[in-house]
Structures are given as C-alpha cells and as structure tokens.
Symmetry: none
Subunit: 128 residues, 2 copies
C-alpha cells in the first residue's frame, strides 16, 4: 500500500511538473507575441477596425475633441495616445487618397464606392 501510494505520488509530481512546464512555455510564447520593446505604436486589430469604420463613415479629419473621444474609446483594446490616433488618420487619409489617385489618375471613373475598397493592389486593379 505504501509503495503504491509512493509511486503514485512520484507520477503525480512529474505530471504537475509537466503541466507547469507546458503552461510556462505557452506563456513565454504569448509574451513574445506582445512585442516587448516596441518604439512605435502598434494598433490592435480592433482598434484599426474601429478607426476604419469611423473613417469610412465620413469622419476623415476628426477634430481635436473627436480625436480625444476616439482615443479614450479604443483604449478599451489597448494603449493609445491622441497623437497616435491623429497620425493614423493622417496616414490613412493620405494613403487612401493616394490609392484613389493611382487607381483613377484621370478622375473619370465613376464609382459609388471609393475605388480602393475594391482592393488596393495596383496591378490587379488596373484592369478596371
């Protein structure tokens, strides 16, 4: 009886050890996914989705107060600064406009939606 119990305890200990090890490895991997040293702001997918929605609803140049509100709201999904949001809208607007210009240099194509919504790859979109 004692021997059996002892062996059981030994196996139990190894089992716990293995569980511990597996969990630690998983945690380490997740930690690496979070970009330990990140000099630049890296918006999460949720944050990008929210800001893109706002942009597509027509708010392409949010005011200072709007930027403040957006920033506080997307803080629910991760760190964010007002300057970051301002930069994002600036860049997004810039690049959306550029894509538009590249897709439709003459401005003669008619579309109910901005052309970039059909895809922003140049070569594949030139067949419009």
């Amino acid at each position: 009886m004692n021997i059996v119990f002892l062996l059981f305890m030994v196996y139990f200990v190894f089992f716990i050890y293995y569980l511990f090890r597996q969990i630690r490895e998983m945690d380490e991997k997740e930690m690496e996914m979070e970009r330990p040293t990140c000099p630049k702001w890296r918006p999460t997918e949720d944050q990008i989705r929210i800001m893109t929605n706002i942009y597509n609803y027509g708010v392409t140049h949010p005011s200072r107060a709007q930027i403040f509100e957006i920033t506080t709201r997307i803080r629910a999904f991760g760190e964010a600064g007002e300057y970051n949001v301002q930069c994002w809208f600036s860049n997004h607007g810039n690049r959306v406009r550029r894509w538009q210009a590249e897709l439709d240099p003459t401005g003669t194509l008619f579309s109910l939606l901005p052309l970039y919504m059909y895809g922003k790859t140049l070569t594949s979109s030139l067949s419009f």
Copy 2:
C-alpha cells in the same frame, strides 16, 4: 486493486500529457495559417540595374511623374507597378543610408563617392 489503480494513474498521466501536447501543436498550426499567399514583385536584374543607375545619378527620390516614367521604361524587362518602383526606391534609399551610417557613424569621413560603393562590408572598408 492498488496495482490497478496505479497503472490507471500512469496511463491517465500520459493521456493528459498527450492531450496537452496535441492542443499546443494545433495552436501552433493555427498561428501559421495566415494569408492565402500574396506574391511579391520580383524585379529582374535589368530592372534593378536601371533603377540603381538612376539612383546613383542622384535621383534618390523620384517624383510621381518620374516614377511613372521609370515604371513604363522598366516594363520592357518585365511587369512592374508604380507602387513597386516607389517601394524599391524607398527601400534602397533606406538601406544605402543605413550602410553609410554603419561605415561612417560620425559622418566625418570624406569621400567623393558614397562609402558603400567600395563595398558594404564593415570590416573590409574600415581600412581606409
């Protein structure tokens, strides 16, 4: 009875361990599953030669019209988009600047030609 229990525990432990491992492997596979593969532009040697020549002649930041012209010209050697050319010049400029900074961190060395032209390996070029 005890022996039976012990063996059961042993198998149980291995069973749990394998379950754990399988779950981890599945997670890793899902992580790898990302995009439906988007082919990158691969400039030919002739295209690279032309663009490098243009860059070395001083046109490090071609304008939009220049990019358009370059693109149409190098299309003689293969497919190319304007955005591809812009990316190439951006990347090339970036990397040339980085080479220069690595070769001459203080910016005090004098040379009629960019130092990286003598070779971009650090050790072999520091013997000036």
